[in-house]
Amino acid sequence: MNEMVLEARDVTRRFTIGASLFKRATTFSAVKGVSLSLRQGEVLGLVGESGCGKSTLANMLLGLLDPSEGEVLVGGKAISRSSPLERARRIQPIFQNPYSSLNPRKSVEDIVSLPLRIHNVGSASERRAKVAEMLDMVGLSRRYLDSYPNQLSGGQRQRVAIARALIMRPEVVICDEPTSALDVSVQSQILNLLLDIKDELNVSYVLISHNLAVVQHIATRVAVMYLGRIVEEQPTEQLFANPRHPYTEALLSSVLTPEPELGIPDTHLGAAFPNPMDPPPGCSFHPRCPHAMPHCSTLHPRPLSDGDRMVECHLYDEAAAQAAREPQPA
């Protein structure tokens, strides 16, 4: 097996909100005891609806937020014990919106070379050469070196963002919805680029996306998040062929492929996404679950792992179902 490049061990992040003179502060957990790992060359897809905590998790993986509990390890070393510079060399982000993630007052060269300058790499001319080389790799002509972001199209801007993320040759890149702000034809170019670069530079990705078609295309493993927990994790092919958690099933059925015969799917999810501030008791998915059983509303399911897959659902936990059926000892 390849070397472990990124690991989250039981991380939790709590936020306190609403504290004022007249109101007691309430605390809620955006991410609750999540563990995940990424090996070299892997692409871990992270999917879930808005509010499920995937961006909070991404920020913790990047070291931009400290976990309230648990720890994040990059290359085997706790991120909390490494300096920001060291962290930035190993792990880099690509954000969703290339219109807001690039400084409009800096030229492409300035933007892409910033990490080099911060890490004091080479002289000005060496840095310019490196940036030019990087632009070649992301498929952007060198004549854009002195251009400004407003002179570039969305796809070109995203290429600049990718060049900036890769210039220090990080081990891990966290891609937060890298293509959702782009047109279809541009999206395919960026996805092709991400795949090419992965092989060329041997980098690993965490891909956060709500577009399951994109996730299936790029990811090697997929983790499904719901209300701050990872509820299912499987190798991509298995997950799409055989989703186990009812939530995963609903997510997969909502993918709209261009097949007019199929019509609009009914996901049977009914009620809207629950309020993360006030999660339902027991299994947090039970109010929307078509297979909910009585004990789902009282007992939190435990993660069940076998081999390379994990699911957190009472449907697969015979022991818990048994215990729930038996009368409680007085």
Binding site: S153, L195, N211, L212, A213, Q216, V255, T257, P260
Partner: protein, 334 residues
Amino acid sequence: MSKVLEVENLRVDIPVAGGVLHAVRGVSFSLEKGETLCIVGESGCGKSLTSLALMGLLPRAARRTADKLIFDGIDLQSASRRQMQTIRGDRLSMIFQEPMTSLNPAYTIGDQLMEAMLWHKRVSRAEARERAIFLLEKVGITGAAKRLGQYPHQLSGGLRQRVMIAMSLMCGPAVIIADEPTTALDVTIQAQILLLLSELQAEFGMGLVLITHDLGVVARIADRVLVMYAGQVVENGSARQVFGAPLHPYTRGLLRCMPIPGRTRPGERLGSIPGIVPSLIGEIRGCAFRDRCGHARSACADFDRLRHNETGHEWRCIMDEAESLSRADELEDV
């Protein structure tokens, strides 16, 4: 079936620094009662301006011309501002993309829902309120009466979009124009909203013009599809025609760009459309797609008309049906 919307040779021109931007260049279509028409294309193809032109909501500088622009028997071109105000929000309503920005944060959901109805119809507040509650329940919002007193910030994105849909239905419109109604939403909510729209449409017999860049959405909901490129319709047909046997190289290119579970192999290279959209400033001659098309030939510089076959499938390409179909599998990269 009767036509509720007829558009012929719609053009939108916007004066800009370097000349005139021809944003919409001769778009024609018609919409039957109860029909769903999807206008699909990438940013800048003119699909949103087409919808704003229908609503009479174009930016002040833009100039709209058309040979025919008839909604529900009314000529929109000769309609005065006042007449347009009585049509908009009543017989012709619109759902905008961003439910976060298209609701007024300072007014309650109830006020905003009832506003159009109180303005257009002779009804009392109580009647409008009753209608608002009825429609909120219809779009699947629980505790509708309580929701009326809430403000937009108290609702999630999916709920806000449902409120927008309910609002567009308040006066019982003949046609709804929806510009990217599900783009800002999660996939699970997207499916629900689309299902809801098509159910409501069947129930109330409205025409629906849906503008989107998402071919997946189009395939699943459309009766008829218009593919737009550079301000023109490049392909027009039923969903089965356009997705089953696309005849324009651009439509085929778009479909090849999409990863499709079950069809594309994970990790394989996706198709792409090389090059960029041409500038629409100044005079444009010939096929606007020719610089990005693998089948382009010198005659494309002069070819610019819609072909059609006997099934009503239209496409704007120098290749006739037989040639286009026989070359469908060729790599269309330049």
